[in-house]
């Protein structure tokens, strides 16, 4: 596929048309036809597509190309090889640099395969002079061979604009027309792989007055659908993000049920929360191992070379354990019990009437949630005020949990919060959570390592590396602890407190102010 200059250059042709359709005006000479089979790759999140790229492999070569609405653009770089999954599996600097951001931690998977053919045709006048060229292309499914699209591009020769216009006119008269969707988009559609935006923060079409149970049910069934969509990726172990997102969805759902009291009967809330907790807990070990293995390079760089041998041994054991754990989780998720459990949960939250009545079910969700947000913030402020450099870790842990609850509430009901101020508050909250998260991670990792070691590990190299790792994590924990205070003081300070009070304390007033014009369009 040659680089395009402009989408408008391409004309989609009626199926089955050949270049000879131009034969009544010019002598048509076909040049050599090139046929190649391209397999397109992208991530679960369509990271490449939405960054304006397509990556295809043909033979033993990968080609990264730009696209506009599925029309092929300029080739950015190529690389020989097969079986690449992550950005760091590629060897050339150019490819790695293009792929790093759009892929992140995501793995590539084949999304569609097509047979592309290109043929240049020369149109000659009565003197035998070439007066115009036409690039004739087709894409067909592979295997199968069903033609998906025929398209062409008129390539004018300098000094022969009139002839090119005549060719374009002739093509238009037999049905050629510009099209917004290009051959790659149509190939993906044909393969039932249309790119769609994937997000862990969807919107729920809520209003301030939506009955609480209806609103919460809509949120939970949406989030559980997202959890469900990640299961195939966990089972096939495409990348670690599937498990990560699956766990976030379970945690968010569980958290939401705990935060909106009396929207569902207490017994049912408790039962569902336990089910969700069990599902998440079954994947704890796998996630812990993922986190360690993802941090491998970072930890190696943090330790002297003399400890690398021992660290490599430790990681080799993590890796082996992960294989076993992944198979176990995969088998469990593949089983009917888990799938049924998730399906039943999702269905039960899709309809408000499937549950017994409860006191807050029909209340408008806005005031209920805003009160909850304000209460949560005040709790964080209270805990925060008692925190000093000598405070026990437990308090920071509690603060972190409260922050997480507040964040989930603000994210779920983001549509109801005035956009500008909501964004600012969430940004400050995210900063605080980031610092608390760093502190918590280094504490948890130390405990994980010690537990792992006490299960009868041996070897002097591994012991040395373990000592080094613990020292490194201790140091990081200490640094993270020092960094918490600065952002905490800002978040519990008077400015932020005043904003929280103004927005969330009097939800009825906010309801009046929460007109669509406050929301980003």
């Amino acid at each position: 596929m040659e680089p395009q200059r402009n989408c408008a250059d391409w004309l989609v042709l009626p199926p089955g048309l050949s270049p000879e359709c131009l034969g009544d005006g010019w002598d048509v000479a076909r040049q050599r036809r090139t046929v190649a089979i391209f397999t397109f790759h992208d991530t679960f999140e369509w990271g490449l597509w939405f960054s304006g790229y397509t990556l295809y492999s043909t033979g033993d070569e990968y080609v990264l190309q730009t696209h506009v609405n599925g029309w092929p653009g300029a080739v950015k770089c190529t690389e020989r090889g097969v079986g690449r999954r992550f950005w760091h599996d590629f060897s050339t600097d150019a490819m790695r640099s293009y792929l790093r951001e759009p892929l992140g931690l995501r793995g590539l998977t084949a999304v569609a395969t097509g047979r592309f053919s290109t043929q240049l045709c020369e149109l000659r006048n009565d003197m035998g002079k070439i007066v115009c060229r036409v690039e004739w292309n087709t894409v067909a499914e592979e295997p199968g061979g069903v033609e998906i699209l025929v398209w062409c591009r008129v390539l004018p020769l300098r000094g022969y604009a009139r002839e090119a216009a005549q060719v374009t006119e002739r093509l238009a008269s037999i049905g050629a027309a510009p099209s917004s969707a290009g051959p790659i988009a149509l190939l993906l559609r044909h393969a039932h792989q249309e790119p769609r935006v994937y997000t862990l923060k969807p919107t729920f079409d809520l209003s301030f007055e939506t009955p609480a149970r209806e609103a919460v049910g809509r949120i939970i069934s949406t989030i559980l659908s997202i959890a469900d969509s990640n299961i195939h990726g966990i089972i096939s172990d495409l990348d670690t993000e599937f498990l990560h997102d699956y766990r976030i969805c379970l945690r968010k759902t569980r958290s939401l049920l705990g935060l909106v009291k009396d929207v569902y009967p207490a017994g049912e809330t408790c039962r569902v929360r336990k089910q969700l907790g069990d599902l998440a807990r079954a994947t704890n070990r796998l996630r812990d191992l993922d986190v360690y293995l993802l941090a491998r390079q970072d930890l190696l760089e943090g330790l002297p070379d003399s400890l690398h041998q021992g660290l490599t041994q430790i990681f080799a054991e993590f890796s082996s354990e992960r294989e076993v754990e992944q198979r176990r989780v995969g088998t469990q998720l593949h089983g009917r019990a888990t799938a049924r459990k998730l399906r039943v949960l999702r269905e039960s939250f899709s309809s408000p009437s499937t549950h017994e009545a409860s006191s807050a079910a029909l209340l408008p969700v806005g005031p209920l949630v805003f009160r909850g947000i304000y209460r949560r913030y005040r709790k964080i402020r209270k805990i925060g005020k008692d925190i000093s450099i000598d405070t026990a870790d437990e308090m920071l842990h509690q603060l972190r949990i409260e922050c997480k609850k507040l964040r989930y509430l603000m994210e779920f009901f983001n549509e109801l919060i005035p956009a500008k101020e909501g964004l600012l508050l969430q940004k400050q909250l995210r900063r605080l959570q980031g610092r608390l998260g760093d502190f918590n991670d280094s504490s948890v990792q130390q405990r994980f390592l010690l537990d792992w070691w006490h299960k009868g590990r041996s070897g002097i190299d591994a012991a040395l590396a373990m000592g080094g790792l613990l020292a490194l994590l201790h140091q990081r924990r200490h640094q993270a602890r020092l960094l918490v205070d600065e952002v905490l003081q800002e978040f519990i300070g008077d400015d932020v407190a005043t904003t929280f009070k103004r927005i969330f304390r009097r939800p009825a007033v906010m309801s009046e102010n929460n007109s669509p014009k406050d929301r980003p369009q």
Binding site: E122, R158, G159, Y160
Partner: protein, 250 residues
């Protein structure tokens, strides 16, 4: 951008065959090349199956440039364009005569093509006029095909004298032997004599070949249909020698 003229006072020495094949060889070597057919006979454009240029005014450099630009035609060969001739070119001298700095206007106009092309090849008519003088001043290299005969020797000497009399850059004159018949004693003697008196003669010689004459039937450069014949190889060698000289000059 280099400007190369194919010029001789004498007709029938292989100027157009040189322009056409050299342009083709330059484009094949990766140089974006524009061939301008300044000869009202329009032989060069015939070889590329291109129609004559549309008429245009030549009141000043602006209209001359606009007219030339409008008449650029892409040939069938990648990287090679042509501005075909027009019978109106017979008035080129009158047009140039009416302009200021009339001996240098052509260079000013051709410079405007420098973004689009690496080399311009001028196929010139066989005479000495104000247009020729403009070509001499505009060109970085003036290739003069010389059939190794007494008459050609005489015309080369005339051209050399003209350059010296008019204080033109004589070092830009690069004659080469054209239509050479190796078995012809007179050709051999003339080559030997002229090479001694004109050290700027190019090393490559173009042999006489019936293949070259078939260009009229095939209507395309010799190099496009008979790549391996002696004459084709000679044109390619001449092109390489010129590219090497271009690099020295630039």
């Amino acid at each position: 951008m280099m400007i190369i003229a194919s010029y001789s006072i004498k007709g029938g020495v292989g100027k157009t065959a040189l322009s056409v094949n050299l342009s083709y060889a330059l484009s094949e070597a990766g140089q974006r090349t524009l061939l301008i057919d300044l000869d009202p006979q329009g032989a060069a454009e015939f070889y590329f199956r291109v129609s004559s240029a549309e008429k245009f005014r030549m009141n000043d450099t602006r209209t001359l440039w606009g007219g030339l630009l409008r008449n650029v035609r892409e040939t069938d060969f990648s990287g090679l364009d042509i501005i075909p001739s027009n019978l109106a070119y017979r008035h080129f001298d009158i047009a140039l005569d009416s302009m200021e700095k009339r001996r240098k206007q052509l260079r000013r106009v051709l410079e405007k093509f420098s973004e689009d092309y690496d080399t311009i090849v001028l196929d010139c008519p066989p005479n000495i006029t104000l247009l020729s003088e403009n070509v001499f001043r505009a060109s970085d290299m003036i290739l003069v095909p010389v059939i190794p005969t007494i008459l050609s020797q005489r015309t080369l000497e005339q051209l050399d004298s003209f350059f010296r009399d008019e204080e033109l850059p004589v070092e830009r004159l690069r004659p080469f032997f054209s239509m050479v018949q190796k078995r012809n004693n007179m050709h051999r003697d003339t080559i030997s004599e002229l090479s001694a008196s004109f050290p700027q003669f190019l090393k490559t010689t173009i042999p006489f070949s019936a293949d070259v004459e078939k260009m009229g039937l095939r209507r395309m450069p010799l190099l496009a249909y008979s790549r391996a014949c002696d004459a084709a190889q000679a044109y390619r060698a001449l092109c390489n020698e010129i590219i090497a000289l271009q690099e020295t000059v630039s």
